[in-house]
């Protein structure tokens, strides 16, 4: 297990390096940040001066090296708008984003996994059809529209929950539903497929044949083995959740990293965009490492596979 952990950690570091490189490529190669940051009527002299201040006049490899150094030491520059280090601003908001993403994740798992199991056990019957209808519609609904509709119905018409901000549990409910529904939809479909596959296996028949109660068969034997693809999806989809958080935060005025990053685009606060994207992307890499390690615990066979 230790060896497996070390191997996964090494792989993660490599991916993290790739992610940093991709951030760099996306930010440097898609245009001139200096031109983006300055107002439209800025003079050429101002442009040249800013390029020099930002170090954009240096060769790309040199810029890349200093970007890497900045990423390692956490130096992304000073926010123009807030006159504070960009990373600090982002890290201040990170708990809010993670709180929202985890709330959505928990909500999705709590709803979708039982739904998928019920659908699998009642294959072809009404419960199955209803659960899958929910899944198909959920997958077709954009986050942001879901959020607007929830605000319209639950907050404006019914007056049950606040429309925006962060603070109490009540503030968390609508954003979590908004962010979690899409995920719950794909999770329910996958849980159903995974359960159906496992329920057809010999050991499940054996467990039934030796007279175990159906509850034990399903929860102890089937569910544990069906959980590997489900956990894979949770890990993969966490990135989508972080991306979705950007949108959800914007709708509900949730003070997270995503909203900060999007607002910073419009005020041309480039260091903050850079730090925000970087921190969120690395959070996702970290989550995937956790998921990989969790696999090793759940399915011992995985520890010895892919020794490449």
């Amino acid at each position: 297990m230790l060896q497996y952990g070390v191997r996964k950690l090494a792989h993660t570091l490599l991916v993290a390096l790739g992610v940093v490189t991709l951030v760099f490529a996306a930010l440097r190669l898609s245009g001139d940040p200096a031109a983006t940051m300055l107002p439209g009527d800025a003079s050429i002299d101002e442009l040249v001066a800013l390029r020099k201040t930002l170090g954009l006049d240096r060769p790309i490899p040199v810029q890349y090296a200093s970007f890497l150094a900045g990423a390692v030491t956490g130096d992304f520059g000073i926010s123009f708008r807030h006159q504070q280090p960009a990373l600090g601003l982002v890290l201040d908001r990170l708990p809010a984003t993670l709180e929202l993403a985890f709330a959505a994740l928990v909500l999705a798992v709590v709803v979708a996994v039982p739904l998928g199991i019920i659908a699998a056990l009642n294959r072809g019957r009404l419960a199955d059809v209803l659960a899958m209808a929910f899944a198909v519609v959920g997958q077709a609904t954009p986050y942001f529209w879901m959020g607007i509709m929830l605000i319209l119905v639950v907050s404006v018409e019914l007056g049950w929950l606040p429309t925006s901000g962060r603070g109490t549990w009540a503030h968390l409910i609508l954003p979590a539903i908004t962010l979690g529904t899409h995920f719950a939809a794909s999770l329910a479909r996958l849980t159903r497929t995974a359960m159906l596959e496992v329920l057809g296996q010999n050991y499940v028949t054996t467990a039934r044949a030796k007279g175990l109660p159906e509850r034990t068969v399903i929860l102890a034997h089937a569910l544990k083995n069906a959980s590997v693809p489900v956990i894979t999806l949770i890990g993969l989809q966490f990135g989508t959740l972080l991306g979705g958080a950007v949108v959800t935060e914007t709708i509900f005025a949730w003070p997270g990293v995503g909203r900060l990053a999007v607002q910073s685009i419009f005020v041309r606060d480039y260091p903050v965009v850079q730090a925000g994207v970087f921190v969120l992307a690395l959070s996702f890499v970290g989550i995937n490492l956790l998921v990989d390690l969790l696999y090793g615990v759940l399915d011992p066979r995985i520890r010895t596979e892919d020794t490449a």
């Binding site: 996306a26 519609v137 942001f144 529209w145 607007i148 990135g239 995503g258």
Partner: protein, 280 residues
């Protein structure tokens, strides 16, 4: 194609309607999508008191006809989705084809690239690129294609890895067929149906991503009508005019639902291997 029957027609209906609206926008839209009558702003739909028969779905904040904006918006949204899907599918499939066929160093580089990009949430990548390149339709198409090539490359690569060992490929090689001929005459036809299925699901995904970016203000810019950017304005006054938020969102949802169900049906019809699994 034997299973392509009525269940395909029902979900295809919203897609057909949307495509027709997009193609025929100048003729079927009852009013201009961009010039409105400020005196008639925020009029409710026709069936609600205060609504007007000529403004079926009501008007928006600037007094523009909502139905006309939806129809013209279909044109923009579908065009972007189609362009990005084709670009992503072509680039992704080519990379997957070459990487799976040649293996070796090219394959290792491609696999790492795929790993890295999968570790990068799409919306964040889009934010990083659009923050610098600025928001415009060409940038949007490229960004969306960047978000979709990976899925194609990964799956096609896997398929080609196993197909290249098949007897008929070996035979073609033994007969002296050159690599482009093997890739495009022998392997490509085999995987075309998979590419088509993947691309169909991509259309749905990309419509949602495009509307999401446009909603954030990073995609289609006003006054160009698009379902996502219309919702951006509408969200601000959802209390006063629910219809401006409800209809564009419904349009997105119904069309994406239709595209996804068509994708399901296509997969069942074209790919017998997944049938038992998908419909189990």
């Amino acid at each position: 194609m034997r299973r392509l029957r009525w269940p395909l027609l029902l979900p295809a209906l919203p897609v057909i309607v949307a495509v027709a609206a997009a193609l025929l926008a100048p003729w079927v839209a009852p009013a201009s999508p961009t010039s409105g009558n400020l005196a008639a702003r925020l009029r409710p739909p026709a069936w609600i008191s205060g609504g007007s028969g000529t403004r079926l779905l009501g008007t928006d904040l600037l007094g523009r006809d909502l139905l006309s904006r939806l129809i013209w918006g279909a044109r923009i949204s579908l065009l972007i989705a189609l362009a990005a899907t084709v670009l992503g599918a072509v680039v992704g499939s080519l990379i997957g084809l070459v990487s799976g066929y040649y293996r070796g160093r090219i394959d290792r580089v491609v696999t790492k690239l795929i790993d890295v990009q999968l570790a990068f949430p799409f919306v964040l990548l889009a934010i990083a690129v659009i923050a610098v390149a600025g928001a415009s339709i060409p940038v949007l198409v490229i960004v969306l294609a960047i978000g979709s090539w990976v899925g194609h490359a990964r799956i096609i690569r896997g398929l080609v890895l196993s197909l290249r060992e098949r007897d008929y490929v070996q035979a073609a090689r033994a007969l002296g067929a050159d690599t482009p001929r093997i890739l495009f005459r022998h392997l490509l036809p085999e995987i075309l149906s998979v590419i088509l299925i993947l691309a169909t699901f991509d259309v749905g995904r990309i419509i949602i991503l495009e509307s999401t970016l446009s909603f954030l203000g990073l995609g289609v810019q006003p006054p160009t009508p698009s379902w996502g950017s219309d919702l951006r304005d509408a969200a601000a006054y959802v209390r006063q005019a629910w219809w401006t938020s409800v209809f564009p969102g419904l349009a997105i949802m119904v069309v994406v639902l239709g595209v996804n169900l068509v994708g399901d049906a296509l997969r069942d019809a074209l790919d017998p291997r997944t049938q038992s699994r998908a419909r189990a």
